[in-house]
């Protein structure tokens, strides 16, 4: 009689390992679900219309909301994206399509280092660069004195923007390099210049990944508190323009959560819930916009006039009838 296959000890190992991996997976999911559930339970209960429309009120008074912090976070993220996304995107395109040799290696390496710099250190950097320029004013500080020398939305946005650069850059780089070379050659073989190929074939092909990467990036800096503490600072009133201190959701959560008042704790939970839902919503919207691209070619397409690209490639228009 032949031995049964698989032998018993293999079956035992199989069951043990499967159980272990299953438990680990369950743990990961349950921790996440627990946090989310707790946040939704506490946050959603404390939400009301006032939260979105009213300014904060002193302790003990009823009503009041965080409209200024919501707007502040939106402003900070807009400014951060305006700084981080173009630099990351263009840098990523350079690395993936043009960069070779030691220079691009150095850029990749330093980008990874920048990604590893603790956010509080970036906060200090921006603090000394923008909030304290009276000690050693830079050229920019002399040109735009109203933005320098004090806490401001501008300083907070710059800090978050710097934090956004590495992830935006590396994810763009990675997703562009994942586009198969056959597409690059296919574009070139049809008489498209390199610039045309990149803009009309490579980037659309990688668009989904690039947008996902940038959304993750925005989500990451949306929750940053440390650099905002001494750049955007905080404010209990509306912050007009870009050169005054502003409230932001993470900092408000921090301040309210460490306070001794139950009412403020409630509001902190609500703020956390709003922050999370906001990130979640933008994420979904961005993905919906992008997923229409490859399949329905006519919708949502950012059409860049070919003639404009010709300017860069040095071609003259050759319309034949």
């Amino acid at each position: 009689m032949s031995k049964p296959y698989p032998p018993t000890y293999k079956k035992v190992i199989n069951v043990v390992m499967l159980t272990l991996t299953g438990i680990a997976a369950l743990l990961v999911v349950s921790v996440l679900l627990f946090i989310l559930g707790y946040l939704v339970w506490n946050g959603a209960r404390s939400l009301n219309l006032n939260f979105f429309t009213k300014l904060p009120v002193p302790v003990g008074e009823k009503g009041g909301g965080m409209a200024n912090a919501i707007l502040g976070t939106v402003k900070l993220l807009t400014l951060a994206s305006a700084i981080g996304v173009p630099i990351g995107l263009l840098g990523g395109i350079y690395l993936a399509e043009f960069g070779k040799g030691p220079f691009s290696f150095a850029v990749r390496y330093t980008t990874d280092l920048l990604n590893g710099v603790p956010s509080i250190v970036i906060g200090i950097f921006v603090y000394s660069l923008i909030v304290l320029p009276k000690l050693h004013p830079s050229l920019l500080a002399r040109l735009f004195p109203s933005y320098f020398g004090h806490f401001s939305t501008f300083a907070g946005g710059v800090a978050l923007g710097i934090m956004m650069i590495p992830i935006a850059l590396r994810s763009t780089d990675d997703f562009l390099r994942a586009v198969p070379n056959t597409l690059r050659e296919g574009g070139l073989a049809l008489g498209a210049s390199k610039a045309q190929t990149i803009v009309t074939v490579i980037i659309p092909a990688a668009m989904h990944g690039i947008v996902t990467g940038i959304m993750l990036d925005v989500a990451r800096v949306a929750g940053e508190t440390a650099p905002l503490l001494f750049t955007a600072f905080g404010n209990v009133f509306w912050s007009h323009g870009w050169n005054g201190p502003t409230a932001s959701l993470p900092v408000v959560i921090f301040n309210y959560a460490i306070s001794p008042y139950t009412d403020w704790h409630r509001q902190a939970w609500a703020a956390g819930f709003v922050l999370l839902s906001g990130i979640f919503l933008t994420n979904i919207v961005a993905r919906l916009l992008v997923s229409g691209k490859g399949s329905r070619s006519r919708s949502y397409r950012l059409r860049i006039p070919m003639a404009a690209l010709d300017l860069f490639s040095g071609k003259r228009s050759r319309v034949r009838s």
């Binding site: 210049s193 045309q196 070619s297």
Partner: protein
């Protein structure tokens, strides 16, 4: 998705798929105009020499097949003709290659590549719709007025014998097509910019025999309107479709002649050994 499986009928192809070197082909003996004149061309990948001192002329409006074992430089040779090798860092070419009367190094690469189209081994449709794939070359080269675009796309699809299969789904993604259809789409895409020469780099190697037969049929259709240079691993394919054949071995051109003569009376011992299957 409903799929109807029908047995492939060889008779449905327009041209009989048999080796043509037995048939009389009067045009083969007519004098031809050179499309490419290659003189003393060598090619290097950094310090590795891939092609050794090639001298040959490639005929206009004929199908030229390039055969030889793997790594013998056929594809490299093809890529020099439209300067596609320039995307490889540290690769360079010596000697002269003239396209018509003009050296290819005097062309702007984009204009050269528009006139010398190329189709690759792996079908590589862009992640766009079928329509946009064909229209791509027309758009980037400004070759077509907007109102003529639709007609031109239809014309190209008809020319590549793909129209009947895709006419109802022009705006669906090109990836929804089968491998063979994708490859024919790539040929149609290359034809859209109206090239003088079409370089085919093993266009059938990733395809099944039926798709291969359809592409060969298409090449046969195009052979008098377009110069076609095709690299193939399949010797029988070279025999079926080409007017002229070049045999490469280890970066050198061993023999270049009319397909009929080459396959029946090879003048070189190496060619004879290769086409009779003694090596390779």
């Amino acid at each position: 998705m409903a799929t109807t499986t029908t047995l492939f009928d060889l008779k449905k192809l327009k041209h009989a798929r048999t080796a043509r070197f037995g048939d009389p082909e009067p045009m083969d003996t007519e004098p031809w105009v050179p499309a490419f004149t290659i003189d003393g061309m060598s090619f290097f990948y950094d310090d590795f020499q891939a092609l050794h001192d090639l001298t040959l002329t490639l005929p206009t409006k004929r199908v030229t097949g390039l055969i030889g074992p793997s790594g013998c430089g056929k594809s490299t040779f093809l890529r020099t003709l439209n300067r596609m090798y320039e995307t490889v860092p540290k690769a360079y070419m010596t000697g002269t290659v003239r396209f018509g009367e003009v050296s290819i190094s005097d062309f702007s690469p984009t204009i050269l590549r528009r006139r010398v189209g190329m189709v690759f081994q792996k079908p590589s449709p862009f992640p766009k719709s079928i329509f946009d794939n064909i229209a791509y070359g027309l758009r980037v080269n400004n070759l077509c007025r907007k109102r003529d675009l639709e007609d031109k796309v239809v014309e190209c699809l008809q020319r590549a014998v793909l129209w009947e299969e895709v006419k109802d789904k022009l705006h669906e993604p090109a990836f929804s097509l089968s491998g063979g259809q994708q490859q024919r789409l790539c040929i149609a895409r290359a034809l859209a910019v109206d090239p003088d020469v079409l370089l085919l780099d093993e266009p059938c190697s990733a395809l099944d025999p039926i798709a291969t037969a359809k592409i060969e049929d298409l090449i046969f259709d195009l052979r008098r309107s377009c110069t076609i240079i095709i690299v193939t691993h399949n010797m029988l394919q070279a025999a079926r479709i080409s007017d002229y054949v070049g045999f490469f071995l280890q970066g050198e051109l061993i023999e270049f002649d009319a397909a009929k003569k080459m396959f029946q009376f090879p003048s070189n011992k190496l060619t004879e050994d290769y086409i009779t299957g003694r090596f390779g």
